[in-house]
Symmetry: C2
Subunit: 226 residues, 2 copies
């Protein structure tokens, strides 16, 4: 006689949701707002109040938080200090990141001593350029290094993040060298899509795109949430 | 005898969806990619192919487009030229915007001759500072104006957009003056939340937030879509 096989029940599958760049960027914004609220001695905040400050819907805020577990108790609002600590952990702001700037032009110069970087754990350790007139000279607190030494310098300083502020036509070749040096993420100001292996995280920065978003909302005020 | 009143049926209400800043920013990205595709003589592209290039899901792309009407025919993909023209119209890239830069520091300087601005209809007409050493001097193609004249100068040049690249502590007061001059939108690089009447559109720019997004994806590669 055949015995019935007991079917092993697998645990209910957790829905794997991918967290988008937009969600993460909103977390950064919430984090800043929470900092301000804590400074003003605000202990708790509802998703509705936070939504109003951020110019998003409260549903958006609850959805953003839902990716990362349960942040508050229904009806009680969020504890600002706990929420801030939680978000800092998610964003990796409670650790130290070594950062290199590639390109000692206007943007690179502006970023070297950008106070918010250090305050959030991002430490600019190196700056590179290919211009003989700049190499070896002080730029704010750093000596500009020759871009030809980028692999060895980045390895020596354990650089994990590179900010690229160089012309578009040079961007791909430099990105490949940065990749060889073991850098894990690139913030790219050059208006050029970079092609690198999948383990390197690339974020594209583009001020023209910010202006386009602005012009959209100027023309479509109905969509604009302050 | 009472006659029955005929109840006028109202047309089915169209669901009013608010378009988010993230959606608009992705449109800017799609626009750039379409430009590249057109240069490479690519006539059509599917939402799946576009998704792969953008590092988003194809569902995201279809959702983004759904706010603005029907962009393509199912199964046939999008015509790259038509899609580009359509997105340009949505973003307001087929018109001329007069822009002022407030703050002649590193960021302001970097933006004055940023080629992508002009290419997309954003024309930098004025630059302001409060530093006597800078006022009246040439900065690239423009003479730096005294910030005390910002209301009259912005009105004279029909400035619609201001880019603020000044220290946080000065930001609110300057924003209020810009508002009086009739400027419709502000891109704010100062790490300071601005409080202005609702008809002024404000976008906050913050490179530290971009780094935080990068660090999140370095730590959570599973979420990262190239």
């Amino acid at each position: 006689m055949k015995t019935k096989k007991k079917v092993k029940k697998s645990p209910p599958k957790k829905k794997q949701m991918r967290v988008s760049g937009s969600t993460v960027k909103r977390l950064s914004k919430y984090y800043r707002t929470l900092n301000e609220l804590i400074k003003e001695d605000t202990d708790t905040i509802s998703s509705e109040e936070l939504a109003k400050l951020e110019g998003v819907t409260s549903a958006q805020i609850r959805k953003d938080f839902s990716f990362f577990g349960n942040f508050g108790r229904r009806g009680l609002g969020y504890n600002t200090q706990e929420l801030k600590t939680h978000i800092a952990g998610i964003l990796g702001l409670n650790r130290h990141w070594n950062v290199a700037i590639v390109g000692a032009g206007n943007i690179g110069s502006a970023l070297i001593d950008y106070a918010e970087f250090k305050a959030h754990g991002f430490h600019i350790k190196l700056v590179f350029d290919n211009d003989p007139a700049k190499i070896g000279k002080m730029l704010k607190s750093l000596i500009v290094k020759n871009i030809d030494t980028i692999e060895s310098e980045c390895q020596r300083e354990n650089i994990e993040i590179a900010i690229m502020a160089i012309p578009a036509q040079a961007a791909q070749a430099v990105a490949e060298r940065i990749n060889k040096a073991g850098v894990k993420g690139i913030l790219n100001f050059a208006p050029k899509r970079l092609q690198l292996p999948n383990h390197v995280v690339i974020r594209q920065e583009n001020t023209a795109m910010e202006l386009e978003t602005l012009s959209y909302f100027i023309m479509n005020q109905k969509d604009y949430l302050k």
